[in-house]
């Protein structure tokens, strides 16, 4: 009986889906174009109706806010594109990284050593999750578990108190403005370009896209599907580490309740960006645009005195509408 079921399973997954690269890239372009248009419309509407919106200072605030969500969203887009849904531990890993960085700085390990160790540990935190998922565990449950674990660990590292960095060596990292633009935003822009290049132009990017597009076909043609999960989550870990370091450096302290709601902001950016959850398509650019769009919308609502409750509700509605919309579009094409 068992063997029969396996054959049935094989039949059920069916022949490999046809992945026409032309159609896939058209879809991606359409989603990106739609988002850019929506963003421009939003910017025009906000600019016309809100006097304080199109000021340089305000736009810097928008970009800086988008940077925190955006950097993590870049890493998350790799997880999603590689067919591993999303990680529910990004917020917690960012908190843990901030606390570890704060702890190392306070213990006088010096800026460069603290940076390297924090990034290695955050990448390691991602890699452990990726390894377990690569062995076949469910990504949602695995990352949910590690999320609780990381949050607890962050509280233990910080003794649930503020960790003051105790030196201003890292201050420039969090508050500097080369050419007038915050460091976080430079990092966001550069990482977006790097992430895009890696996905589109390297072997690793191809591996991610193909693993997400069709597991069965990928395995059959000798791809190591597990590698995609491992690498995707490791990169997400690095992104969380970068975000955590920026936050600790910016505030001069780290505490275990940073980044409230970051997980869902990031997933919202992915979904609003139109990256298909079943994997195999999309680009980090879409995640970045999604983050910027949500940040602009949040800022627009803030300037119009929406309370944080209403802002959150609107983002929730936006995510529901966007996911249902993309889902229906895809179903119609199919």
């Amino acid at each position: 009986m068992k063997s029969l079921r396996i054959v049935a399973d094989l039949v059920q997954t069916g022949p490999p889906e046809e992945l026409d690269p032309q159609i896939a890239s058209n879809r991606r372009r359409q989603a990106t174009a739609a988002l850019v248009v929506a963003l421009i419309v939003l910017l025009i509407v906000a600019g016309l109706t809100t006097p304080s919106f199109l000021t340089f200072e305000n736009l810097l605030v928008v970009i800086r806010n988008a940077s925190v969500t955006g950097i993590v969203a870049l890493g998350m887009s790799y997880v999603t594109i590689s067919g591993n849904l999303f990680a529910l531990s990004a917020e917690e890993l960012s908190i843990l990284s901030a606390c570890i960085f704060g702890w190392l700085m306070r213990a006088n390990f010096g800026l460069s050593l603290s940076l390297v160790v924090t990034l290695l540990l955050s990448g390691g935190g991602g890699a452990v999750q990726g390894g377990i998922i690569a062995l076949g565990a469910d990504p949602i449950i695995t990352t949910l578990a590690f999320g609780g674990f990381f949050r607890g660990l962050a509280s233990v590292v910080s003794q649930n108190q503020n960790i003051l960095l105790g030196s201003d060596a890292a201050e420039w990292l969090g508050t500097g403005r080369p050419l007038g633009v915050p460091t976080q935003s430079w990092a966001f822009i550069i990482l977006t370009l790097v992430a895009w290049f890696v996905l589109q132009r390297t072997r690793f990017g191809r591996l991610l896209l193909l693993s997400g597009a069709n597991r069965v076909a990928g395995t059959a043609s000798g791809l190591r599907i597990g590698q995609a999960a491992l690498l995707g989550l490791t990169l997400l870990g690095f992104c969380c580490g970068i975000t955590g370091i920026f936050a600790a450096a910016q505030f001069g302290q780290a505490v275990a309740n940073l980044f409230q709601g970051l997980n869902f902001d990031v997933i919202a950016a992915i979904l609003v960006g139109g990256i298909a959850l079943r994997g195999g398509q999309g680009s980090p650019i879409q995640a970045a645009l999604g983050a910027v769009f949500i940040s602009v919308l949040q800022n627009f609502m803030l300037l119009h005195d929406f309370t944080s409750g209403w802002r959150t509700t609107v983002v929730g509605i936006l995510v529901v509408v966007a996911t249902c919309g993309f889902h229906l579009l895809q179903r119609r094409r199919a």
Partner: protein, 325 residues
């Protein structure tokens, strides 16, 4: 899984629960007093009730991420209208949550959309709604009404309070419904093999709606009960509920792929978790170590199940190759 396999599986899980219990029972003398047991039961109510709902959606092969936010909204709503009386407020809250759950099930079933994605959106939206309704503040019960809540702390037979009896009733009713009614079996059918179920004439929409109505109503019941008992509701509360509920269900043998599991398993998972958390608390671990422990426990469960699945798959593959040869 055959009936015998299911029983063995449950026995192993129960043994694990007993081991955790014994680890702490030896170190904590007041573990067995009626007060200790009553506190244990009361402490399990929130996660227990919500886990049953999450378990039902998991059996249907879906996952409801929105339970934490929905519990928060319902808690806030019940608190805002508490002047109509404790029971009516509870009832209105649960009806609201059930209606919301039914709509979620309807949309997910009718559009065929992935429930994870859809409930991520509603998770964010409900959290916002809770803040809007509560005006971004903690809602508290008027002082003159606090005596009404004393009903909830009464004791029957020394260890049962009305809320822990409520939890037991929820386990019983949902368990019987899943096991013995046609609609309950349909939930297993769409979880175990959706295309086979559809081919056999099982409607997908009805069990889907029932499952999500169930998880919505129970998340609401848990949130409202706890808020009423505490006399206050915070719109940002219940954010680690999903972790506890998912741990409870997986530890209780509800399969993530759907179609497998029952409420007895959920009860075993629930008490394994509670023994661990209350035991550590009683030994003086700070509250924030709870997340660490629950997370570590869930990681352990994931790893054990991963190894079991891989072993089963290897065996099946070996059998298959033998038969083909």
């Amino acid at each position: 899984m055959s009936r015998r396999d299911t029983l063995i599986d449950l026995a192993v899980r129960a043994a694990f629960m007993v081991i955790i219990y014994l680890v702490f029972a030896f170190q904590l003398p007041n573990y067995h007093t009626p007060n200790g047991i009553a506190a244990l039961l009361d402490g399990a109510v929130l996660v227990g009730i919500v886990s049953v709902g999450v378990g039902v959606t998991m059996i249907a092969g879906e996952f409801d991420l929105s339970v934490g936010s929905l519990a928060a909204v319902t808690g806030v709503i019940a608190m805002e209208i508490i002047n109509i009386g404790v029971l009516p407020a509870l009832l209105v809250g649960v009806l609201f949550a059930a209606a919301v759950g039914a709509i979620q099930g309807l949309v997910i079933g009718a559009l065929g959309i992935n429930s994870l994605v859809f409930t991520i959106g509603t998770l964010i939206g409900f959290r916002g709604l809770a803040m809007v309704i509560a005006h971004e503040n903690t809602v508290t019960m008027p002082i003159e009404q606090l005596p009404d809540v004393d009903v909830l702390t009464q004791r029957f037979l020394g260890v049962f309070s009305p809320i822990s009896i409520g939890m037991i009733v929820v386990f019983g009713v949902v368990g019987l419904f899943l096991r013995y009614t046609r609609w309950g079996r349909e939930i297993y059918a769409i979880g175990g093999g959706r295309s086979e179920a559809r081919a056999a004439g099982v409607p997908v929409l009805r069990p889907m709606m029932i499952a999500f109505t169930c998880s919505g109503a129970l998340a609401g019941l848990g949130g409202a009960l706890l808020s009423i008992r505490l006399g206050s509701a915070t719109p940002l509360g219940f954010d680690s509920l999903l972790l506890s509920a998912a741990t409870t269900c997986l530890m209780g043998g509800i399969a993530l792929e759907g179609g497998i599991g029952n409420v007895i398993g959920i009860a075993i998972g629930l008490f394994t978790l509670r023994f661990l958390v209350t035991g550590m608390g009683a030994l003086g671990a700070p509250y924030y170590v709870q997340n660490l422990a629950i997370g570590a426990l869930l990681i352990l469960v994931v790893l054990i199940q991963l190894m079991a699945t891989r072993r089963r798959r290897r065996q099946a593959r070996a059998q298959l190759s033998v038969r083909i040869a």
